[in-house]
C-alpha cells in the first residue's frame, strides 16, 4: 500500500487522481484501515526536504518556501495568540483576585472547625458532625456571553490562576457529568486530575487518602464546573450530595459557571441547594473583551500581521451578525493569517519581523535589523521600514481616538473598520492637496478641520472627535494624559500633546487664581468666561486629533509594500471560514456546467438535455414540484428527458427543446434500455438522498419523496 517517494512523483505526472489511490474493494468496506505509514525518512531533515521537492518537481524552491512560511506563520500567530491571552487574562484579573480571596476565606472557615485525623478522614463513611460542616462553599461565576464557548478559556485560566496560588484544582465540564456515566464518571474525572494514576475504582475515599497522604493540607481542593446548566441534573445533584458528604474530610470548594443567578435553583432540587453556601462573581462583559482582543491583535503593531479594510468589515459583520463569539472571531483571524502565509510569497519576512520581538519597533526611529535586511533587497527593506513607521503612527492615532471614543461607548472594532478605510483616506488626501499643506494648526477651529476630514456623520471617528469637544475639563486632562502615554514613541504627536497639556495647566491655574480669592463667587465664575475658555481647550484638543488623523492615520492599504504584511482576500477567508453546504450543493447540481464545462450540455442548465448528469436532471425536475414529489411522475419525466437522447437526440444534436416527445420504441434491446433508465433513476435518487436534499418515502406516503430544500 505504501508508495515509494519516486513512485509518488511519477504517479503525479501520469495518473489521474480518480485512479491513483488504488484502494482495494476490501478497504472500502473496512470501517477503517491504514492507508500508509509515515515514510521512515521523516526523521532526517534533509531527506524530508527532498521529499517535498519530489512532490512538486517543477518548483524545487517551493518546498523550502513552505517550510519557511509555516515557521513564519507559527511565530506570528503564537505572538498574536499570546498577546490575546494576556489581555483576556488582564480583563479577568480583578474577578480572579476576588475569587481567590474568597477561596482563602472559605478554606479558613472549613479548617477552623477542626481537621479530622487521618483514620477519620479516609474512612469510607462520613463522620457525624454538625450539619453546617456538610455545606459546600460554592462560587457562582456569572458569565455574560450568549455562547458558552468563549468562557472555556476563562475557566481554564481561573484554574491555572488558583493553582498558581497553591490550590488543588480540577476542571470538570458537562461532558464528564452525563447520565450515562453517572456520578462515577465525575469522580473518575476528579481522580484522574488529582491522583493522576490510572484508577479503575471510583471511590471518594481514594481522594481523601490522597489529600491526607500528600501532606498538602494547607491548601483547598477546588472543583470547577464550567457549564453547570448543561450538566445532567440528576448526576450533578448526586455529585454535589456526595461532595458535601465528604466536605468535612476534604476541604472542597465548588466553583460553577452560570448564565443567570437563578441557574442553581432551576437545575438543582431544594435538598441539594441546601448543601450549597453560594457567593457570586461577575465576569467581564463580552464588549470589554472584544475591545481588548482587537487592541492586542489588530491595532497595536505587535506581530506585524495586518488585515485590509474589507477583511475588517467582514470580520466585524461575522461577529455581529453571524457567530457572536470571541472564539470564532479569533479563529477567523487565524484563518486569515494562515491564508496570508500560504498565498503571499514574501510573507516569511513577516516571520523574521515577529521573531525580533519588536526590538526594531522601539523608539521613534524604526529600523529593520540586519538579519531582515540581509534577506531582503534594499528597496524592499526601506519600504518596510517606512511601512512599520507608518503603522506605528496609525495605531497611535487609532488608540488616541479610542480613548476619546470610550467616553461615548465607541467600540474599537467599529473604529478600526473606519480607520482602515482607504477611500476615506484618499478622499481626505485629495481634498487637502487643493487646500493647505501639512502641519499642525492647533489655533484654528476644529469645525474647520472636521469638515475637511470628510468624516462619516455619526461614525465612530466622528463620534470620538465630537466627544473630545464636549468633555468636561477633568476628563479632558485625563484624556490628554492617556494621549501622552500613547504617543510616547512619536515625537511629532507627543510634543503637540505636551503643548496642549501645558495650556490646560495654565488655564487651570488661571481659573484657580480667579476662584481662590472669593469662594462665594466661584459658582458664578464657572459660567460664561470660564466655560468659554475650557471650550477653546476642548476645541484645540479636537483640532489636534483631527490633524493627527489627517497626517498620521494612513490606512495600511495606502502604504507601499503593504501586501507583504496585509491580508486582503476577503473571499478566500469567507470560503475557508464559512462552509455553506446547503446552498452550494444545490448550486452544484443546478449549475453543474460551471464546474464541468463540457461541450455537450447547454451553458444554461435550466434547459434539460439528456447528456446532463442524471442527478442534475432529477434535481432540476424536482424544482417544479411541490414539497412532495410523486415518484411515478418524477420517473416519467426523467425518462422522457433521457430517452430523448437515444432517439431524437442523435438526429438533431444540441436541440434546445426539453419538451416531452413521443417515445419511439423501436429499439430492439428496449428492455435493456429500460433497465438502465430505471437503474439511472435509482442511482440519482440515492445520490440525492446522500446529499439530504430529499427524504425517502415512508409508510404514510409510499409513493412520494419529500423535498427538503427550497430555493438557494
Amino acid at each position: 500500500m505504501t508508495p515509494s517517494p519516486a513512485m509518488a512523483a511519477s504517479d503525479l505526472a501520469s495518473q489521474p487522481p480518480s485512479t491513483a489511490p488504488d484502494s482495494s474493494e476490501n478497504d472500502n468496506i473496512q470501517p477503517f484501515y491504514v492507508l500508509h505509514k509515515a515514510s521512515s525518512s521523516r526523521n532526517s531533515h534533509r531527506k524530508s526536504a527532498a521529499r517535498r521537492i519530489d512532490l512538486s518537481p517543477s518548483k524545487p524552491a517551493a518546498a523550502k518556501a513552505q517550510v519557511d512560511a509555516r515557521k513564519a506563520f507559527e511565530s506570528v500567530w503564537s505572538k498574536i495568540h499570546s498577546s490575546i491571552k494576556d489581555v483576556l487574562r488582564d480583563v479577568n484579573t480583578n474577578v480572579f483576585n476576588e475569587i481567590h480571596s474568597w477561596v482563602c476565606q472559605s478554606f479558613l472557615a472549613i479548617t477552623s472547625s477542626g481537621v479530622p485525623t487521618f483514620a477519620q478522614a479516609t474512612r469510607s463513611f462520613p463522620i457525624q458532625t454538625h450539619t453546617t460542616s456538610k455545606q459546600l462553599f460554592t462560587g457562582l461565576v456569572l458569565i455574560k456571553n450568549m455562547e458558552f464557548v468563549d468562557d472555556l478559556l476563562t475557566f481554564k485560566e481561573l484554574g491555572l490562576c488558583l493553582k498558581s496560588h497553591g490550590c488543588h484544582v480540577a476542571n470538570v465540564s458537562s461532558v464528564d457529568i452525563l447520565t450515562k456515566n453517572g456520578v462515577g464518571g465525575c469522580l473518575r474525572s476528579l481522580l484522574r486530575q488529582f491522583v493522576m494514576g490510572n484508577l479503575d475504582a471510583a471511590d471518594v475515599s481514594i481522594l481523601a487518602s490522597w489529600y491526607r497522604e500528600l501532606g498538602n493540607q494547607n491548601s483547598p481542593v477546588i472543583i470547577i464546573i464550567d457549564d453547570m446548566e448543561r450538566c445532567s441534573r440528576s448526576v450533578l445533584s448526586d455529585f454535589i450530595l456526595m461532595l458535601s458528604e465528604w466536605a468535612g474530610k476534604i476541604p472542597m470548594i465548588l466553583i460553577m459557571g452560570v448564565t443567570t443567578l437563578d441557574a442553581p435553583r432551576n437545575v438543582l432540587p431544594s435538598h441539594v441547594l441546601q448543601q450549597l453556601c453560594p457567593s457570586k462573581f461577575i465576569l467581564g462583559s463580552p464588549a470589554e473583551r472584544m475591545n481588548a482582543v482587537v487592541d492586542a491583535s489588530l491595532v497595536r503593531w505587535g506581530s506585524g500581521f495586518c488585515i485590509g479594510h474589507k477583511v475588517a468589515i467582514f470580520l466585524r459583520n461575522f461577529f455581529l451578525n453571524q457567530e457572536g463569539t470571541l472564539t470564532s472571531f479569533i479563529r477567523a483571524l487565524k484563518i486569515a493569517c494562515v491564508q496570508h502565509f500560504s498565498m503571499e510569497p514574501l510573507s516569511s519576512i513577516l516571520g523574521l519581523l515577529a521573531e525580533e520581538d519588536g526590538e526594531g519597533l522601539q523608539g521613534e526611529r524604526l529600523a529593520l535589523s540586519s538579519k531582515v535586511e540581509a534577506q531582503t533587497d534594499s528597496k524592499l527593506a526601506l519600504g518596510l521600514t517606512e511601512l512599520m513607521h507608518s503603522q506605528k503612527c496609525w495605531s497611535t492615532v487609532v488608540m488616541c481616538l479610542y480613548e476619546a471614543g470610550k467616553y461615548n461607548k465607541v467600540q474599537l472594532l467599529d473604529l478600526l473598520c473606519e480607520a482602515l478605510d482607504p477611500d476615506f483616506y484618499n478622499s481626505m488626501a485629495s481634498k487637502n492637496q487643493t487646500r493647505s499643506g501639512k502641519g499642525f494648526e492647533i489655533s484654528s477651529s476644529s469645525d474647520h478641520f472636521m469638515a475637511r476630514l470628510n468624516l462619516r456623520k455619526g461614525g465612530p471617528i466622528h463620534q470620538a472627535i465630537q466627544k473630545v469637544r464636549d468633555l468636561p475639563a477633568a476628563s479632558l486632562s485625563q484624556l490628554l494624559k492617556s494621549w501622552e502615554n500613547l504617543s510616547m514613541d512619536i515625537l511629532e504627536i507627543y510634543d503637540k500633546v505636551k503643548e496642549l497639556q501645558r495650556m490646560v495647566k495654565f488655564e487651570e491655574g488661571k481659573s484657580l487664581k480667579q476662584d481662590f480669592p472669593d469662594l462665594a463667587k466661584r459658582h458664578a465664575s464657572r459660567s460664561p468666561a470660564n466655560v468659554k475658555e475650557s471650550k477653546t481647550i476642548n476645541d484645540k484638543a479636537a483640532t489636534l486629533i483631527s490633524t493627527m488623523i489627517r497626517d498620521f492615520m494612513k490606512p495600511i492599504e495606502c502604504v507601499p509594500y503593504h501586501e507583504v504584511v496585509c491580508f486582503k482576500d476577503v473571499e478566500k477567508l469567507k470560503s475557508a471560514l464559512i462552509g455553506d453546504p446547503r446552498r452550494m450543493i444545490q448550486v452544484d447540481l443546478l449549475e453543474f456546467h460551471k464546474f464541468l464545462q463540457c461541450s455537450c450540455c447547454s451553458k444554461h442548465c435550466d434547459v434539460l438535455l439528456p447528456s446532463m448528469p442524471d442527478t442534475s436532471i432529477m434535481y432540476t425536475l424536482a424544482q417544479e414540484h411541490g414539497d412532495l414529489i410523486n415518484l411515478h411522475d418524477w420517473f416519467q419525466s426523467f425518462k422522457t428527458i433521457v430517452v430523448n437522447c437515444s432517439t431524437k437526440g442523435k438526429q438533431r444534436k444540441g436541440q434546445q427543446s426539453p419538451l416531452p416527445k413521443k417515445r419511439k420504441d423501436t429499439n430492439e434491446n428496449q428492455n435493456e434500455g429500460e433497465a438502465s433508465i430505471q437503474a439511472r433513476f435509482c442511482r440519482a435518487l440515492t445520490e440525492l438522498q446522500i446529499t439530504g436534499l430529499i427524504r425517502m418515502p415512508n409508510k404514510r406516503r409510499p409513493d412520494c419523496v419529500q423535498r427538503v430544500a427550497f430555493g438557494l
Binding site: D11, P16, P17, S18, A20, P21, S23, I29, P31, F32, Y33, V34, L35, H36, S39, S40, R42, N43, R51, L55, S56, A62, F73, E147, F148, V149, L152, V175, R192, T325, I335, V338, S342, S575, I578, G579, P581, M584, I585, D588, L589, F592, F595, L596, Q597, P613, D627, L631, H632, Q678, A679, R683, T686, E687, I690, T691, G692, D703, F710, G711
Partner: protein
C-alpha cells in the same frame, strides 16, 4: 446593504417554500403509484446499476485534476494545525485519497469509512495510538534514549486515556502527526452525537490532523460552536467532483425494487464480512433460529440485530430481515 441582502434571501426562501406548498395543494396532486411503473426484474436492475456508464468521465477527471493545485495549500493548513473539510456534490473519496497518497506520504494516514453502517470508534483510537507509539519509538531509537517499556496494551485503555496519549506533548518542531481521513464524517456510522464528540476531541489532539468530507446539506448541524471553533478547527473547501457515489451509495436501497430483499442481504453480508468469524457464527445461529420461528417478524430498519421486549419483559435479539433475505444471506455467508 448586507442586511438587506440577507433579508432578500430569507424572503426568497420562504416564498419558495410556500410556492412549493401551494403547488402541492392545488388539487393536481398526482396519485399515481410507484407500482404503476413497469418495473424490470430486480436482478436485471442491479446488473444495469453496476454497469452504468459514467457521464462526463473526462470532465470529471479534469475537474479533480484541477484541485491538485490546491494540495500544497491543504498540506500547509494541516501543518498549521487546521482540519480540512471537503464538501460539494460528488464523491470526494478518490480526491482525498489521492491527496493523501501524493502529498501526505511523510505522515501516517488512517482512513475511516464513515459511509458504513457501524464503526467502532474505540478501535480506531487504539489503532491510532499504536501507530503513534511505533512512530515515537522509531524516532527515539534514531536519536537517543529509549522508550519506557512494559506499558499497558492500548486495547485495555479507556477512550479518555487513548485521547490523552494522542494529545501528548510534541517532541520536536510540532510536526509529528497522524492524519485521519474521514469519508462522510456525517455518515450513518458516525452520525450520533457521542461519536461526533469523540471525533472532535480526537481532531483537537496534538498528534492528529483530520481531513473529512461531508455530503449531507445539514451536516454542520452535527456540531456545536465548541466543536467547530476549538476542536475540529475546519478550513472549508468547496470541491464538487461530480464523481458517482459508487461505494457510498451501496448501502442505500434501490427505490425501484419490490421489497429490496437482495439489497438488504447484500449490505448485511458486507457488514458481516468485516466482523470476526466468531461474530459471524453468532449471527448465523441467531439467523437460523429466527428462520425456524417465522412468527417473529416485525422489522423496522436495515440494522442487523435489534432488541425487543417479549411478553415476559425479557429482551430478545432478532435480525430485522425478511425470511427470504435471511435465507439468501445465510447462503452467502455459508459459502
Amino acid at each position: 446593504m448586507e442586511m438587506a441582502e440577507g433579508d432578500d434571501e430569507e424572503f426568497g426562501f420562504s416564498r419558495n417554500y410556500f410556492l412549493a406548498k401551494e403547488l402541492d395543494g392545488s388539487g393536481k396532486k398526482s396519485t399515481r403509484k410507484l407500482s404503476d411503473i413497469d418495473l424490470v426484474d430486480e436482478q436485471e436492475l442491479r446488473a444495469a446499476a453496476s454497469n452504468l456508464e459514467p457521464k462526463h468521465a473526462k470532465e470529471v477527471r479534469e475537474l479533480m485534476n484541477s484541485y491538485r493545485s490546491l494540495y500544497p495549500k491543504w498540506l500547509f493548513e494541516l501543518r498549521c494545525g487546521f482540519g480540512l473539510l471537503m464538501y460539494g456534490f460528488g464523491s470526494k473519496k478518490a480526491l482525498i485519497e489521492d491527496f493523501a497518497s501524493t502529498a501526505l506520504t511523510e505522515y501516517s494516514v488512517v482512513v475511516i469509512n464513515g459511509y458504513l453502517q457501524s464503526i467502532n470508534i474505540k478501535q480506531v483510537l487504539v489503532a491510532l495510538a499504536e501507530i503513534l507509539c511505533d512512530q515515537m519509538k522509531n524516532k527515539r531509537s534514531n536519536t537517543s534514549g529509549n522508550m519506557p517499556k512494559g506499558q499497558q496494551p492500548f486495547n485495555s485503555k479507556s477512550v479518555n486515556d487513548l485521547l490523552a496519549f494522542l494529545d501528548g506533548p510534541q517532541v520536536e518542531e510540532n510536526d509529528c502527526f497522524i492524519c485521519i481521513i474521514v469519508h462522510n464524517i456525517d455518515g450513518p456510522g458516525l452520525r450520533d452525537s457521542e461519536t461526533q464528540q469523540i471525533l472532535a476531541r480526537l481532531a483537537s489532539c496534538s498528534h492528529i490532523r483530520i481531513v473529512a468530507s461531508i455530503d449531507h446539506v445539514n451536516a454542520p448541524l452535527l456540531w456545536d460552536k465548541k466543536m467547530v471553533h476549538t476542536q475540529f478547527n475546519w478550513c472549508w473547501y468547496h470541491v464538487p467532483t461530480f464523481a458517482a457515489y459508487k461505494i457510498e451509495g451501496t448501502f442505500f436501497p434501490l427505490i425501484l425494487t419490490n421489497g429490496n430483499t437482495t439489497q438488504s442481504a447484500k449490505t448485511a453480508a458486507l457488514v458481516l464480512q468485516s466482523l470476526t468469524p466468531n461474530a459471524q457464527s453468532v449471527f448465523r445461529v441467531l439467523a437460523e433460529y429466527q428462520l425456524s420461528h417465522p412468527d417473529e417478524k416485525e422489522f423496522k430498519d436495515h440494522e442487523l440485530v435489534k432488541t425487543r421486549r417479549d411478553t415476559d419483559g425479557q429482551d430478545c435479539l432478532y435480525i430485522p430481515l425478511t425470511a427470504e433475505a435471511l435465507g439468501k444471506l445465510l447462503l452467502e455467508i455459508g459459502q
